[in-house]
Symmetry: C2
Subunit: 371 residues, 2 copies
């Protein structure tokens, strides 16, 4: 499907590069106004790296499956690629996507809307590998470790250099949609996206889909590594006493791709507002748009069917106001579980999970004004 | 002139909104790959604000000219607009433009390439107002003060809330191209750009062109306000002992607008590299492009004549390599004074004056790869 929505000719014709949010390591954002097809071209897919990109030799490197297993495995890239492959479409969103909308500003990469993308991933099912290795009965988590290494920044932090590592529960790991992927959109992974192999954990924030994957460790204890506790964690105060927990499933969220912030629109004209909605633990079933900063809401239409863990693009055919001025647009999704996006950011998530409707301020020009 | 350069259809057809670098106060960047005409449309012009946008009543507000003058003036917006007007084209660049390229990262708004623009400004000559007021003989600087107020962030900082203020030398102020402007590109200033009145100091970094201008104070002493010393200052060590000085004229600089960082290009095809070059205290007279990360340089062509204080767009007609892979493009201007942009950033400027050639990394696709 070739989308031409949002009244901007040529906008989706070609991948047009990324926005730098941090130069080194590479943290690059999709210009989200370039949203087009259901599948995000790999060239437009955001890049979120904690450390410099490791250069892995696909011949020499091994994927090690170890820990509380009956048979340790050390698999070459060629062996992995020779196994039966699965393909799935999954939306990955950085847990900090939308951070630049936080007031007051929060430290960290100042992502706007483009630290999210929807790609087709091909690889071997993690569950199949774990079955070959044979998990001990008391394994509760699988720790995924990448070849990217460095010194974390935020306190509390361990001393010295560590590898990027995240865990997922045994239950999640044993679902066959969790992949050890080697392809993205039908092409081998690029170095920025985890070449030669990465994890894909559909429905989880991107931090779980560990790039440059080298080790999978079966653990009989919950993993409390840096990116599970200090970073990518939140305070759960549902029991009264706040306890630290790792982020996991993406919250229900929707975003406006077009118009872009501060775009100037012509008055009294048809304009198709265009965006996407997604969730990790439910499906987006309704999309509501506000044209007046949240005073009132109108319903938009989805362009894609429900496909668990993939986003749904949506549109709303607007007639722009005749009155010139500044207008604040919002989008808010409803989930299959009847929950809606919250009105505001939950501070228990720190500078993560920015899942409230994000204001897109646009201008409607005066009729006489050149456009 | 309508430019279609960089092989991207539609790229310059319409202003397409801004990139958020900081949400509140508004710090919004032009997507620099949208560079098109010589004049930057107002809708695409970057917004750099230190504090929330003041709402000024154009009927009630006054521009006060005071300090060491023979006749204090208090002028209404209507009086200013009724005076003989001048129009000039001037490039404004934020002194922190390019900061996201700094390694390691520097605090502050993470501008990429788009905190620069070239507009036509209309207003009254500051020199004319100063002649009416009559400067005392011993006046050395004019302090320009805006209505925007707040608490500065960086140390050393004064206690409490202060107004944004910058000074320029008497000599610069008396040149008739320094404007008290009320129009940008033939339209009244928008609130974000300083409505109802702002200073325009052609050739200086944007920090001198004080928005929401309310006060001009003739001073017999050099001004040592926060934005003259703590912020927007640098260490001048030319005499051996470093001394703190305010930033002033923009350094010679050039930027690549297209391709954008991480854009994917087709192999062995014509591609017009497109950009702009400018300077505050000289004119850009040559533009050199490197297609191999600085190993070798080829000369590009200017598209605009020399027009002091306005940028010159340039192009280079490239045949992309046949060999797929990652390529680093650079641009480097030479000035009328025969000086060239430096190879690296001068740390005496802190996180300002990022005037070395900034690397634009692009990919050349394999022939078989869909585009």
């Amino acid at each position: 499907m070739d989308m031409e929505t949002g009244n901007r000719s040529g906008a989706v014709a070609d991948p047009v590069g990324l926005i730098i949010r941090q130069k080194d390591p590479n943290n690059l954002e999709m210009p989200f106004d370039q949203l087009g097809d259901f599948i995000t071209p790999s060239e437009l897919f955001y890049i979120r790296s904690h450390f410099p990109t490791p250069k892995l030799d696909p011949v020499a490197c091994r994927l090690s499956i170890r820990g509380a297993v009956h048979r340790e495995l050390r698999l070459s890239y060629a062996e992995i690629r020779a196994m039966p492959a699965r393909t799935c479409v999954a939306t990955l969103e950085c847990a900090g996507n939308g951070r630049v909308f936080m007031v007051p500003p929060a430290p960290g990469a100042q992502w706007e809307l483009g630290a999210v993308g929807n790609a087709e991933w091909t690889g071997v099912s993690l569950a199949m590998l774990l079955e070959r290795a044979g998990l001990a009965d008391d394994v509760c988590e699988l720790v995924l470790e990448g070849a990217d290494r460095g010194v974390p920044k935020e306190e509390p932090k361990p001393p010295g250099t560590i590898s990027y590592a995240r865990s997922i529960s045994r239950a999640r790991a044993m679902q066959d949609d969790v992949l050890i992927a080697w392809q993205m959109n039908g092409q081998d992974l690029t170095p920025d996206h985890g070449y030669p192999m990465r994890a894909i954990v559909p429905g989880h924030y991107g931090m779980a889909s560990v790039k440059w994957l080298t080790d999978i460790v079966a653990s009989t204890q919950p993993f409390h590594g840096y990116w599970q506790t200090s970073d990518y964690g939140y305070w759960d105060d549902s029991s009264g006493v706040p306890v630290r927990r790792p982020l996991a499933e993406m919250k229900l969220k929707s975003q406006i791709a077009r118009p872009r912030v501060y775009e100037t629109l012509q008055p009294g004209r048809p304009y198709t507002i265009f965006g996407a909605a997604w969730a990790g633990d439910t499906d987006a079933t309704e999309i509501w748009i506000s044209l007046d900063g949240g005073e009132s809401w109108v319903q938009g239409d989805f362009l894609d069917p429900i496909n668990r863990h993939a986003w749904r693009r949506w549109k709303y055919d607007w007639i722009t106001p005749a009155k010139p001025g500044r207008y604040t647009l919002l989008a808010r999704a409803t989930g299959a579980d009847q929950r809606v996006q919250p009105d505001r950011h939950d501070p228990n998530f720190g500078s993560y999970v920015i899942d409230h409707p994000l204001p897109i301020e646009v201008f409607v020009a005066a009729l006489s004004q050149p456009g």
